[in-house]
C-alpha cells in the first residue's frame, strides 16, 4: 500500500493549532509549597474556607506517591519546575463584556475558529472560554440565569455561591483520591461550575473551550456540575493547545453530581498537542473524571473523543448509588506517532437495578500505545445490576500496541455482566470493496474507521460529531500505508 503524497504533507505538517499568543501572563514563579498554595488562593481572592481546603489537600499530597501502574512511560515530572498560576493580565475588576477582553485573546480564539459571538448565535452554545487559567468571557449567562441555571467559572462560584461549592466541591473526587486529583485540589486555577436546579432542562448545550497558553504552566482545571432532581444538562468540552517544546502537565478534575431523575451528559473532544514525530513536547493529560449518580433513576453519560496529548491517563467513572441509575461510557481514542493512552472507565454498581454500558474503541497507529483499563464492580447490594462492555481495538501498522485490561468484580448473583473485546485491523477485503467502488485508499480508510467509531459518534451532540469525524480523518491520514 502506498499513501498519496498530499497526505504525507498533511501528516508531516506542523500542528495546525500550534501558535503562542504574546500576552503578559501574571505568572507565579515555578515551585510548590504552602506559600504558593496560599498565594494562589489570595490572588483569586478566595474566602478562608477555600484556602484551608487547598492547604489540607496540599499537605495530603506531600504524603502521596506518583502512581506507576499505568502502561505509560515518560520522564519523571519535576513538580518544583512547574509554575502553578498563570492568569491573563487584566484590570482589577476584570472585563465586563467582550469589548473589554484583551484583543490578543480574542484573536487567538478566532485562529482556533471559535468566534464567540458568532458561535453563540449560530450554534446556540454558551461558551465559557478558559484561556489558560482564568475565565475571560462567559456568554449567554443571562438566558441561562432566566432558566435558573448557574454557569460560571469556579472562582466566581466560590464568591457568589459559597454554600453550593462548600457542599459539593470534592464530594465526588475527594482530595485523598489520587496523586493528581490531590495536586489539583491544592492548586486548581479555575474551571467551570454548573448548577441546574430542580426540574430544569438546561435550554442549551453548555460548552467550554480550554486552551493552554503560557509556557511551563500546568493547567489545573476544576469542573463541578450539579444536576438537581429531575433536571437535565449537556456539557461539551473541547480543547486545542499551542505548540511548545516542554512537556506540559494537565491534571484536571471533573465532578458530576446527578440527583433523583437527573441526567448529565458530558462530551469531550480532546485534541491537545501530541508532541512531534519523536514524541517531544506533547501534553501530559492526567485527568480524574467522576460522576456520582446519587439519586434514584439518575443518569450520567460520558462520551469522549481523544486524539491529542502525548500521554493520556484518564478514567471517566460513574458511581451508581441511586437505585435504577444508569452509567454510560462511550470512547474513541486514537494514538499515533509516539502517543500513549491509558484510558477507560470505572462503573461502580452500588444501587439496585443499576445499569451501565461501556463502548470503547481504540485506534492505534504508527508507534502509538494504547491501553483500555476498566473496572466494573458489582457490590453485594447491587441486586439486578447489569453491565455490558464492548472494547474494540483497531491496529494500523505493525509498530503499534493495543492492550485491554478489564477488571471485573462481581459480588451479587443476580448481576448480569458481559465483557467482549476484539482486536483487528482494516482488512484487505474491506479496502478492496471500497476501492473497487472508486474511493481512494485514504477515503476508504477514513470511511471504515468512522464506521468503526460510529457507535460512539452517535452519542455526541451534532456539532461535535461532525468535528470529531473530521478530527479523526485528519489524525489518521498518512497512518495507513
Amino acid at each position: 500500500m502506498t499513501s498519496a503524497p498530499a497526505v504525507d504533507d498533511i501528516v508531516k505538517s506542523e500542528y495546525e493549532h500550534g501558535f503562542t499568543t504574546e500576552i503578559d501572563s501574571d505568572t507565579l514563579p515555578p515551585g510548590l509549597d504552602e506559600d504558593v498554595v496560599r498565594a494562589i488562593s489570595k490572588r483569586k481572592g478566595e474566602p478562608e474556607f477555600m484556602t484551608e481546603w487547598r492547604l489540607r489537600a496540599y499537605r495530603h499530597w506531600l504524603t502521596m506517591r506518583e502512581p506507576e501502574w499505568a502502561a505509560v512511560n515518560y520522564p519523571k515530572i519535576d513538580f518544583q519546575a512547574i509554575s502553578y498560576f498563570s492568569a491573563p493580565k487584566r484590570p482589577e475588576d476584570g472585563p465586563k463584556s467582550l469589548d473589554e477582553v484583551d484583543p490578543a485573546l480574542l484573536e487567538t480564539y478566532e485562529k482556533l475558529g471559535i468566534p464567540i459571538e458568532e458561535q453563540k448565535a449560530l450554534a446556540g452554545i454558551a461558551v465559557d472560554a478558559v484561556f489558560d487559567s482564568v475565565s475571560v468571557a462567559t456568554t449567554f449567562r443571562k438566558s441561562l440565569a432566566e432558566a435558573g441555571v448557574i454557569f460560571c467559572s469556579i472562582s466566581e462560584a466560590v464568591h457568589e455561591y459559597p454554600d453550593l461549592v462548600k457542599q459539593y466541591l470534592g464530594s465526588v473526587v475527594p482530595h485523598t483520591d489520587n496523586y493528581y486529583a490531590c495536586l489539583n485540589a491544592a492548586v486548581f486555577s479555575d474551571g467551570t461550575f454548573v448548577y441546574v436546579p430542580k426540574g430544569v432542562r438546561c435550554p442549551m448545550e453548555l460548552s467550554t473551550y480550554f486552551r493552554i497558553n503560557a509556557r511551563n504552566t500546568g493547567q489545573f482545571e476544576r469542573t463541578l456540575i450539579v444536576a438537581e432532581a429531575g433536571s437535565y444538562v449537556s456539557y461539551l468540552e473541547g480543547c486545542t493547545a499551542p505548540q511548545r517544546d516542554e512537556n506540559q502537565l494537565h491534571a484536571a478534575v471533573v465532578e458530576l453530581i446527578a440527583m433523583e431523575d437527573a441526567e448529565i451528559k458530558y462530551s469531550t473532544v480532546q485534541n491537545w498537542y501530541p508532541g512531534d514525530a519523536e514524541g517531544r513536547g506533547g501534553i501530559y493529560n492526567f485527568v480524574t473524571k467522576r460522576g456520582d449518580c446519587r439519586g434514584a433513576r439518575s443518569k450520567i453519560s460520558w462520551t469522549q473523543v481523544e486524539t491529542g496529548s502525548a500521554i493520556t491517563w484518564k478514567y471517566p467513572s460513574c458511581l451508581l448509588r441511586g437505585d435504577d441509575s444508569v452509567g454510560e461510557f462511550y470512547s474513541v481514542a486514537v494514538t499515533k506517532g509516539r502517543q500513549q493512552a491509558d484510558t477507560g472507565t470505572k462503573m461502580i454498581h452500588i444501587g439496585k437495578n443499576t445499569r451501565s454500558t461501556i463502548v470503547s474503541k481504540g485506534i492505534s497507529a504508527g508507534q502509538g500505545e494504547q491501553t483500555y483499563r476498566g473496572l466494573v464492580r458489582i457490590s453485594q447490594r447491587a441486586e439486578g445490576a447489569r453491565n455490558h462492555t464492548q472494547c474494540d481495538s483497531l491496529l494500523i501498522g505493525d509498530r503499534c500496541t493495543a492492550n485491554t485490561v478489564p477488571y471485573i468484580e462481581v459480588k451479587h448473583p443476580s448481576a448480569k455482566m458481559e465483557h467482549e473485546a476484539t482486536t483487528s485491523k482494516i482488512s484487505d477485503d474491506q479496502l478492496f470493496y471500497c476501492r473497487s467502488r472508486g474511493l481512494t485508499e485514504e477515503d476508504a480508510v477514513s470511511m471504515i474507521v468512522n464506521g468503526f467509531c460510529k457507535e460512539v459518534f452517535n452519542e455526541l451532540p451534532m456539532e461535535f460529531a461532525v468535528e470529531a469525524q473530521k478530527l479523526l480523518s485528519i489524525s489518521l491520514e498518512g497512518a495507513v500505508g
Binding site: 481495538s393 493495543a402 492492550n403 462481581v410 465483557h419
Partner: protein, 439 residues
C-alpha cells in the same frame, strides 16, 4: 505480609538438604534461594496477588514433608482411584515417588517414566537440559522459586522422537495427613521430543481432610509436531492449600490440549504459562472451577504469542456457590513479530449465591496488527427461562438448577481425555452441587 512471616513459613527449606544431587542442580537450588530473598512476599498491591491474600497460608506453621509412611497399603488407594480408568499409574505420596505402589507396564522404546530423584541419579545429563529451562530460574515467581529452592522429587516423563504413547500416564499425587501441617513440593518434568504423542492425567488427591500445602511445578517441553493431551484434576482435601505452576514451551506445529479441573482445597492458586517457540503451534487451555464455602480458587494464565501463525484458545468456566470465591486473570501477549496470531479467551461464571464472588481480568496485549484476538467474559446466574422450561416438564426446582449447572460444566468436562475420567469428574461436580444450597 512481612518477609519475616515468609521466613517463618518457609523455615523448613533449610532442612531440605538431604540426598545427593548433581552440582548443577545444587547451584540452581541456591540461585532460587537467592531469588526468594530478592522477590520478597507479595502483598495485595502486587498486581498478580490483587485479589488473593497470602495471609492464611503464611500463618500456617508448616514443616517439610518427610519420608513417606511405610504404613500405606495398596487398599488405601482404592478410595482415590478413578474406577475403570485404564492408565499407567505413577504414585507420589506427599511429594515423594513411590515405585512399589506405582503401576508397572511395558513401555515402548524411547520412553522414560520414573521418579525425578531416581533419574537424577541414573541419567542426570538427560534432565539437565530441561530442568529449570522451561521455567527459567531467574524468572520464576515466588512459589516456583520456592519449589526450585527445595527441588527434590517428582515425575519425569520422557517420550522420544516420533514415539506415540497410546496408554495414558496417570500421575497421582496423594497427600496423607501427618501430625503437623506439611508442605509437599513435587517437581515434574515432561518432555515430548519431535513428533511424539502422549496423554498425561495429573491428579491431586488426599486421604482424610488434614491441613497441608502442595506447591507443585510442572515443566513441559513439546518438540516439533508433538501432541500432548493433559488433564489436571485438583481434588485436594477441603483444608488444603494448593499452588501449582505449569510452564509450557511449544515447538513448531505442536499441539497442547489441556483441561484443568478445580474442585478441592480451601485456597488454591494455579499459574498456567505457555510460550511458543515455533510457528503453527496450537495451545488449548480449558478449565472448570467449582468453589463453595470456604474456598478460594485463583487462576492466572499467561499465553505468550512470540511466534507468528500460532493459535491459542483459553476457555475457563466457573461455578461459585456459598461463600465461594474465584479469581481469573488471563493474559494473552502478542509480540510484534507474531503476525497472524489467532487467540480467543473466554471466562464465564455462574454465581449461585449472594455471598459468592468472582473477580475476573482477561487481558490482551497486542503488538502486531495482522492478528485475530478476542476475549469475552460473562458473570450471571441461571436463566429463569431455562428453569421454567425444565419445571414446566415436571422437574423440581432444585434438580432443574443442578441439571443446568452441570450442563454448564459439561462443556469442559467433556474435553477430558478418558470416559472414565469424565464420569468421575461429572459425578463429583454433581455431588458438590447437590450439597450446595441453591437459592
Amino acid at each position: 505480609m512481612s518477609d519475616a512471616a515468609f521466613t517463618a513459613f518457609a523455615g523448613w527449606l533449610s532442612e531440605s538438604g538431604e540426598g545427593s544431587r548433581p552440582d548443577w542442580l545444587e547451584s540452581q537450588r541456591l540461585l532460587a534461594r537467592e531469588r526468594l530473598a530478592d522477590l520478597g512476599v507479595p502483598d495485595r498491591k502486587t498486581e498478580a496477588w490483587r485479589y488473593t491474600s497470602l495471609k492464611g497460608l503464611m500463618e500456617q506453621g508448616f514443616g517439610r514433608t518427610g519420608e513417606t509412611m511405610a504404613a500405606l497399603q495398596p487398599d488405601d488407594l482404592e478410595e482415590v482411584l478413578v474406577p475403570g480408568l485404564d492408565a499407567q499409574r505413577i504414585l507420589l505420596v506427599n511429594g515423594r515417588y513411590l515405585p512399589e505402589l506405582s503401576g508397572q507396564g511395558d513401555l515402548p522404546a524411547g520412553v522414560r517414566i520414573g521418579g525425578l530423584r531416581e533419574l537424577l541419579a541414573s541419567e542426570p545429563d538427560r534432565l539437565r537440559e530441561h530442568l529449570n529451562a522451561v521455567a527459567e530460574t531467574d524468572a520464576q515467581p515466588l512459589f516456583a522459586a520456592l519449589n526450585t529452592a527445595g527441588l527434590d522429587d517428582g515425575l519425569v516423563l520422557w517420550v522420544g522422537r516420533g514415539v506415540v504413547l497410546e496408554r495414558p500416564i496417570e500421575l497421582v499425587h496423594l497427600s496423607v495427613g501427618l501430625d503437623e501441617p506439611r508442605v509437599a513440593q513435587p517437581r515434574h518434568l515432561v518432555v515430548l521430543e519431535d513428533g511424539a504423542q502422549a496423554t498425561l492425567i495429573e491428579r491431586y488427591v488426599s486421604l482424610g481432610d488434614s491441613i497441608y500445602c502442595t506447591n507443585t511445578v510442572l515443566e513441559l517441553s513439546l518438540g516439533r509436531d508433538a501432541l500432548l493431551r493433559h488433564d489436571r484434576i485438583q481434588m485436594e482435601s477441603a483444608n488444603a492449600f494448593h499452588i501449582s505452576g505449569l510452564y509450557l514451551t511449544q515447538g513448531a506445529d505442536s499441539r497442547y490440549l489441556g483441561v484443568n479441573i478445580g474442585l478441592g482445597a480451601s485456597w488454591s492458586r494455579t499459574d498456567l504459562n505457555c510460550r511458543f517457540q515455533g510457528e503453527h503451534a496450537e495451545c488449548d487451555l480449558q478449565g472448570l472451577y467449582v468453589a463453595g464455602d470456604g474456598q478460594l480458587m485463583d487462576y492466572h494464565l499467561d499465553v505468550q504469542h512470540t511466534q507468528p501463525n500460532c493459535n491459542s484458545r483459553e476457555i475457563f468456566k466457573g461455578i461459585l456457590h456459598g461463600h465461594g470465591r474465584a479469581v481469573f486473570d488471563g493474559r494473552v501477549f502478542v509480540a510484534r513479530e507474531a503476525q497472524k496470531t489467532d487467540a480467543a479467551m473466554s471466562n464465564r461464571n455462574l454465581l449461585l449465591s449472594e455471598s459468592a464472588e468472582v473477580d475476573t481480568k482477561p487481558q490482551l496485549e497486542i503488538n502486531a496488527d495482522d492478528v485475530k484476538c478476542s476475549h469475552g467474559t460473562t458473570v450471571g446466574q441461571i436463566e429463569p427461562e431455562m428453569l421454567f422450561y425444565l419445571r414446566s416438564r415436571g422437574i423440581g426446582a432444585s434438580l432443574a438448577r443442578r441439571m443446568l449447572c452441570l450442563g454448564f460444566a459439561e462443556e469442559i468436562i467433556q474435553r477430558l481425555s478418558a470416559e472414565a475420567l469424565r464420569d468421575h469428574v461429572s459425578e463429583r461436580v454433581g455431588r458438590r452441587l447437590e450439597s450446595a444450597p441453591m437459592n
